[in-house]
Symmetry: C2
Subunit: 374 residues, 2 copies
DNA sequence: CCCTCCTTGGAAAACGATATACCTACGTCG
DNA sequence: CGACGTAGGTATATCGTTTTCCAAGGAGGG
């Protein structure tokens, strides 16, 4: 056992062409024992077969008889072996990791759980497939973001990336194409683009429903506190809102904010309420902003929903906990995350698992909306 | 080309020491050109030096004269080359990634932002150092968690891991030691342990302050809705609470909950308020639970803080947005995340950057506490 | 002038897994 | 009875780095 130069004795013993001592000699003796994890050659040694046989077995390449196969599998089990990700990646290219880059300042990430929910959904699918999620949160500058993607690609750290926050005139698609890094976008791209994307069935129906709900309650003057205008969905929702409002003969003022902070939402709310003929209902781009808006209104002595109706967006668990419980446009964020993960893996040539349906957005009516006061 | 049975004919034909045709012939000619990223040998070729020279330059190994050094650097720049993470990792060096495994069910992650805030802090330090964060969210079972760590280690995907949620009788330390995977714990280990940990200066002062605050307002009967009892910090805080209460002659009932959900918090609140001689103030293990508790109290017709005082824990941004604004024990979660990241990198032999101070917990008094009604 | 050291730089051996070329029995068929 | 598949494996080149050595040549000392 101790000095098995194996083969050599049994295998190609009588080989006519000497072919040189083979520098890879070391590969053969897996003097494991103490430190270091087991390698494929340890498994081979234990099973009494060659390294390549082991490889064929674990990768289902066929050409190995059943009894041998079983011996190998047993050895794998006994040694608790699993292939080194680095070696596999180096050889083949599959990293079994996918990347995600967020350009939000870190503290914003905490106040808007949107991103976190997406990650949950993504992980829900990725984890069972033994894929890892490599997260990069870069500061606000676009440059840092581009560098992050470039590193991910050049160092071959991930097989593909998931993009969120679709932007108008988004440059990431071209960048990634240039880098040869497969990607899937969550949301709607700003223009026709070969990058696959996942989105809910009727992305705008939720906002339309919300306007209908408010109109039905008797509201005539709405305000919409929009997210930053470089977001694709901001523009989509705005359009829907304007159309719906026009269709029902409502007035709607749009209040864009520079970012998703509570402060910005509060300021926009203040401004809207200071208008001549102030709105009786305000819609917000997300739930945190809606809650901040409710507070801003309260500071002006307005009570929600008696004096002002408020509608959020996303339906995060939080919305059901505040007082009044928030009426909001629910979005299947977890479903979107799951779909994106599966779509990307399929894209990578993995098993073509069918992508689960994403639920369409829908209005969740709770307590923050009511008929307007006289 | 078509039939290159390698060297044998061309290679070291006339070489005095035969040493064998050198299978690595290819390494020399980096026929780059079209597809594929540049490799170190392309850089070497462009700079007119050997691969080893390039490696030495980029790793600051010295032994290379200045002019050569510059030529190499220029070539690196021109080719936009960066080393393949896979190859570097395979060679045994660092992966430049650190791992994190969370055992929470994914939807819990979204309702309790605690974890997210830590991640922000961690990334804040990791990103500038070009370290990646590999996230794994596994389902509830301990087994899946162990497998996740094992994979991380065996596949050499990360250089080390950051642990959160210190448990009583935590088995992860032994596991990681066995795996040879460096780790840093955020929080207090359940017993003396060689695994380094980071924590705030006076971890318990916050809770003590809270009790003092409530006692000062005139409360005599407290309740504490604790997190699950297998958490180390749960036991710590309980002890502090009991001591402080006893020291001030207050009564304190402890209400452990099985998990951090809003439902559990609501149920525990119900139960506490149904006691004979119900508490006039309740402390919660985190802010989400406190908000859920406020709602539960409201459903019983109690108003906060008039009929019941409520204290949360963590001071998430959310707490300042709800009504009444939440009095809570602030914790420097971002600081903890940053400290953990730096500590781990230092542990890995990286630059021994000094770890920034973590702010001690402190009570943030807002509107959810007041003197008890007669 | 010879020998030693030091500075620069190169050749090649790992690292661990995969794929391809190849090799040996063993049947089978013409 | 010999050529030929074919099943079942084995040997090894290869992926892109890092890291030993090792060599050549110049400097400096005796």
């Amino acid at each position: 056992m101790s000095h098995e130069h194996e083969g050599s004795g049994t295998g190609a013993r009588g080989s006519p062409r000497v072919r040189c001592p083979a520098p890879g000699r070391n590969t053969v003796m897996g003097t494991r024992g103490s430190g270091g994890r087991p390698t494929i050659s340890d498994v081979a040694a234990l099973a009494g077969v060659s390294v390549s046989a082991v490889s064929k077995v674990v990768n289902n390449r066929g050409g190995i008889a059943e009894p041998t196969r079983r011996r190998v599998l047993d050895a794998v089990d006994k040694l608790q072996w699993s292939p080194s990700a680095a070696a596999v990646a180096l050889r083949g290219a599959r990293t079994r990791a996918i990347g995600m880059v967020s350009r939000r300042p870190p503290d914003l990430l905490t106040s808007d759980p949107h991103f976190t929910v997406l990650i949950s959904g993504i992980e829900r699918e990725l984890a069972p497939m033994d894929y890892g999620l490599l997260l990069h949160i870069v500061g606000g500058q676009e440059d840092a973001e581009r560098r992050a993607y470039r590193r991910l690609a050049e160092e071959r750290r991930v097989d593909g990336v998931i993009l969120t926050e679709s932007l108008v005139r988004d440059t990431r698609f071209d960048l990634l194409r240039g880098l040869g890094l497969p990607a899937v976008l969550i949301g709607t791209p700003w223009r026709e683009d070969p990058v696959p994307s996942v989105r809910a069935p009727h992305p705008d129906r939720g906002v339309a429903e919300a306007v209908g709900h408010l109109a039905g309650l008797g509201h005539r003057r709405l305000a919409y506190v929009l997210g930053p205008e470089d977001r694709v969905h901001t523009n989509f929702r705005r359009r829907v809102l304007e159309e719906e409002a026009r269709g029902r003969g409502l007035s709607a003022v749009l209040m864009p904010v520079p970012d998703f902070t509570a402060e910005a939402a509060a300021a926009a709310t203040e401004e809207a309420l200071s208008l001549a003929g102030p709105p009786t209902a305000i819609l917000y781009a997300n739930d945190m902003m809606a809650i901040a808006g409710i507070n801003a209104a309260r500071r002006r002595g307005l009570e929600v929903p008696r004096d002002l109706s408020v509608v959020g967006h996303d339906d995060l668990p939080l919305g059901a906990l505040v007082q009044p419980r928030l009426t909001t446009v629910g979005q299947d964020l977890v479903g979107l995350g799951r779909a994106a993960a599966l779509r990307l893996v399929a894209e990578l040539g993995g098993t073509a698992a069918e992508v689960p349906a994403v639920a369409p957005p829908r209005l969740v009516v709770r307590e923050s909306t009511a008929a307007p006061g006289v």
